[in-house]
């Protein structure tokens, strides 16, 4: 039962109760499953019933699902390079053996682009661990709260996984403060031509779609959009426009006005001390001013 214990999601189980009761389990058996995976103490007769009937049935269902999917669940197959998908399946099995009973996801440019820097492996576990590189693999450990994040929703639109990916609602709130910070960081990265600019830009674009209530883009969409922007003559102008659009569409007028005015005051104070950088600051401030002008 070890494998089942790790993959059981009680919220999902409750959601699908009508599909499995009475088709697969009786109502009483369903309650016992909930009790067992909630960590509540069971009576000896309940334990006996669980191991004698329920666990066997659950193991059988797991076998059936794994047989049908071969233990591999593919999302966004139509956008993947077929040969890469084959290779990725082999890697996924290898990592599933290396990290037993863990949810493993393989995603990123390896699946859809001829050129790639590394192969992104995400391992969902209970505890946070340092990311590391193992040859061509970039291994990231994520904690279970990632399931309800915007980042997870985006990466799992185009990935292969050793478990079926349940679609949870995003719990993360769209934060205007974080979005402003990303805009500031992106401007700085562009100005200094930092190596990590594409990563900051992808994060900015993802947050922009979230703030504006648009469809969450997958990693290929983000990569294509980021590359197009970077290759423009004046990427700052389009970044400002994306920022302005997202704030106008997705943020309450009063909140947007207050945040933009606050940012202008902060930058005006910085300009007093660092006059030599005024042209840069004025360009950053331009987007804040335009939001105020359009909202007022």
């Amino acid at each position: 039962m070890r494998k089942l214990a790790y993959s059981m999601d009680l919220a999902h189980l409750r959601q699908i109760k009508n599909d499995i009761v009475p088709a697969l389990f009786t109502s009483h058996q369903f309650d016992l499953i909930i009790k067992k995976f909630s960590g509540k103490e069971m009576t000896p007769s309940e334990k006996n019933e669980f191991s004698r009937t329920i666990s066997k049935k659950m193991k059988g269902i797991l076998q059936l699902v794994n047989k049908q999917s071969n233990g591999i669940f593919i999302y966004g197959k139509e956008r993947m390079i077929p040969e890469r998908l084959q290779q990725a399946s082999i890697y996924l099995k290898r990592f599933s053996r290396q990290f037993k009973n863990k949810h493993i996801i393989l995603t990123g440019s390896f699946l859809y682009s001829k050129s790639y820097n590394d192969i992104d492996i995400f391992i969902v576990s209970k505890y946070e661990k340092e990311e590391r590189s193992e040859g061509k693999f970039h291994i990231n450990h994520l904690t279970e709260d990632v399931y309800t994040s915007l980042f997870f929703k985006s990466i799992t639109k185009l990935c292969i996984s050793n478990r079926e990916i349940i679609k949870y609602p995003i719990k993360e709130e769209a934060s205007l403060d974080n979005f402003i910070s990303l805009y500031q960081e992106l401007f700085n990265d562009l100005d200094k031509n930092f190596k990590g600019i594409r990563s900051t830009l992808r994060e900015f674009l993802l947050q922009a779609s979230f703030i504006a209530n648009a469809t969450v883009p997958d990693s290929l969409d983000l990569r294509n959009e980021a590359n197009s922007i970077i290759n423009l003559k004046n990427p700052k102008e389009i970044i400002k426009n994306i920022f302005i659009n997202a704030v106008l569409i997705g943020v309450r007028k009063e909140k947007a006005l207050s945040a933009m005015k606050q940012m202008l005051v902060s930058y005006q104070e910085v300009i007093k001390e660092y006059k030599q950088h005024a042209p840069y600051y004025l360009e950053v401030m331009d987007a804040f001013k335009r939001v105020i002008s359009l909202e007022s």
């Binding site: 990311e131 403060d177 910070s181 960081e185 700085n188 990590g196 104070e269």
Partner: protein, 106 residues
């Protein structure tokens, strides 16, 4: 150079008894001297006003300078009070840098 020596040099450059945050010792002890010197040069550029600070949304009296190494593996944040002294140097990997940015509001 060792982390303690690096910290002393930072204090000398800034002429301030600043605090250090993040895994500064680990970062400095694990990078070669040219990379250590690149960070010191950046600190010097911040001190001379060559580098550009950003306002901190969560602390109205603070501004911060951002450092990113050429390989994008080490990130730094040098915090200063507006029109006053340097306060703190943070050096760490990406994940902790993101947390620190969120904390400061930059």
């Amino acid at each position: 150079m060792k982390a303690d020596e690096f910290k002393e040099k930072v204090k000398q450059i800034l002429n301030a008894n600043i605090k250090f945050d993040g895994h500064v010792d680990m970062v400095i002890n694990n990078i070669p001297e040219p990379k250590q010197n690149a960070i010191l040069e950046w600190v010097g550029a911040c001190s001379l006003g060559i580098e550009r600070p950003e306002p901190c949304k969560n602390f109205r009296n603070l501004i911060s300078f951002i450092y990113k190494s050429s390989d994008n593996k080490i990130k730094g944040i040098l915090t200063k009070e507006k029109n006053a002294y340097f306060i703190e140097l943070f050096l760490d990997k990406h994940k902790y840098y993101d947390r620190k940015r969120r904390y400061l509001g930059i």
